[in-house]
């Protein structure tokens, strides 16, 4: 039985593995074969796969830094404007903006803005949410979130050739090589 939609264009070829070590070796081979548009899917982040796939670092920390600086500045400006400019609190001759007393709120908003930047930055960089994807329509692929490890090479890769790539994937020692078709509406 296969509920994979057969009517769309070829999106990708995939093969799957049972153990993380076979999977990792396969990823090294795909990387060395020079593919660009390919991915590895696993139920958990396999340690060391970044190198095996040749993934470079992410920009996410810089996004978080910008979020943090924004939160810090916003908190400082807010307290200065609200308590020293727009509605000055005159209490026992204390300074209108006392940094030590302003710091708890500055700290909290720095963390808050950084956390939002981190959360939504990760969504943005990962293209989430994306509920509609050829892989999600593939029944066999459901185990990627459970207990199997998949290597997927997309048809748009310049080195992709349906016959040669199929043979290459078969040589990696996975279970089966399967076609993933584009979803066609209607």
């Amino acid at each position: 039985m296969s509920a994979t939609p057969r009517h769309g264009a070829l999106h990708a070829l995939m093969t799957d593995f049972e153990s993380p070590s076979q999977f990792m070796q396969a990823c090294v081979k795909v990387r060395d074969a020079g593919f660009k548009h390919w991915d590895a899917h696993s139920p958990f982040p396999v340690h060391g796969l970044d190198d095996a796939m040749g993934i470079r670092g992410t920009r996410l920390p810089w996004i978080v830094l910008v979020g943090g600086i924004t939160g810090f500045s916003a908190a400082l400006l807010m307290q200065w404007w609200m308590n020293a400019v727009d509605y000055p609190y005159i209490i026992s001759g204390k300074p209108l903006l006392g940094l030590p007393a302003a710091f708890p709120v500055i700290f909290e908003l720095t963390v808050l803005f950084s956390a939002f930047a981190c959360f939504f930055g990760m969504w943005g960089l990962n293209g989430m949410p994306r509920w509609h994807h050829p892989l999600l329509a593939n029944d066999r692929f459901r185990r990627a979130s459970q207990d199997r490890f998949y290597v997927v090479i997309e048809a748009r890769d310049p080195k992709f050739d349906s016959e040669k790539t199929r043979a290459f994937l078969a040589s990696l020692g996975g279970a089966v090589v399967e076609e993933v078709r584009e979803i066609v509406e209607g």
Partner: protein, 487 residues
Amino acid sequence: MRTPQVSEAWDNTKDDPTKPVELILGGNDFTSITEKVSDIVLERKTPRAWYIAITATAGLTGIMFLMIAYLFMKGVGVWGLNNPVGWAWDITNFVFWVGIGHAGTLISAILFLLRQKWRTSINRFAEAMTIFAVICAGIFPGIHVGRVWVVYWLFPLPNNQAMWPNFRSPLLWDVFAVGTYMTVSLLFWYTGMIPDLATLRDRAKGRVKQAVYGALALGWRSSHRHWHRYEKAYLLLAGLATPLVLSVHSVVSFDFATSQIPGWHTAIFPPYFVAGAVFSGFAMVGTILIPARKWFGLEQIITKHHLENMNKVILATGSIVGFAYATEFFIAWYGGNPNESFAFINRAFGPYAWAYWTMVTCNVITPQLFWSKKIRTNLVVMWIMYIFVNIGMWFERFVIIVSSLSRDFLPSSWAYFRPTPVDIMTFIGSFGLFFTLVLLFIRFLPMIAMAEVKTVMPIADAHSGERRSVGDYHGDIPSHIRDGGKH
């Protein structure tokens, strides 16, 4: 009642430094872990006990809301407050519940940064508890303000009086601290849950479940290019949550420490409150975890080793709390301030001595029993100890708040605080809300972080031929020691 049957082969609490601790027992693999955890939500019929339990807890929640409605109609006079005791159970409950939350963040963030792999079995549960506890906590300052119709003055919102709140007030810091804590805990919890929601989506059979879990999973497809950024995001959130959790109870303690009431005005409060918060939070996690692992058959994932480690944290933080009690007394004497020394003598021997000694018994003596390995690994005994700690930590906040207020500077205005039934039922009702949320969580969401648990299993290691990385020791043990010198 049957005592939990965990066979000797499952006991991973034996101390043998030459062997890494097995964190997941019973020969589980990725498939069986996935099934064990997700079947609770997807496949198993909801036990009748669950319906009975949620009816009871929802009833208590209803009582709490009735009490709050009554409070709103009549005013804070329906509580036992008097002059000079203007804060009593309301703020005690607030500090108690916020403190409970701290265990979740400690487990999810601090233990993550310290690479304590045992956290993976319990972090989801503890983080959920954090959120539910902070929800319970947030109710009390919201309803204690007296004029609830202007409760929005807590926040710096533009209003018709062109007035802003005073940012030099620790009460306003509290609004920001607790609000940020709630928000960041929620983001962290949800981030951790995305891969597991995808697992539920992929295993769900009904259309509704597929749609709901699918929507929540945001289209996660376990791509390693996504995992790469996801892990970075998780690490960054842990790094942000770590100073945050230390700050929350510090800021809560500023409510007291920056005032001039004897017994409150002490510099020791921030660290002492944080230690107490972690102490009480771990006790509450254990209180719920022990029955939950039994009922849902999760003894192989949440093992005795996990519980023993939690008990060690309780021992450490409980000792800090005990030490802080002693330090307070020493400083009250050594500082030579007559008001301060009176406040502490009054605490231990005044009208609230019964509460003080309840607190000391529960918080100072109880955790010390965890020095014994037998006690530390006995499920029934440790559960009873958790209950003592829960009681003791509520009394700690009560003693600090009420004993200091009831006898302040002017003896002619001294008064004794007694709670009214409204006080008591509101507090009990908040437990109803907490347990209702816990019950909904274990019924509809994955209570164990499946993806994270899989990473700490020996079979997860792609270099498994070269070295073993299991347990708390990260495979750091030289191979000649690990393999018993057979190299």
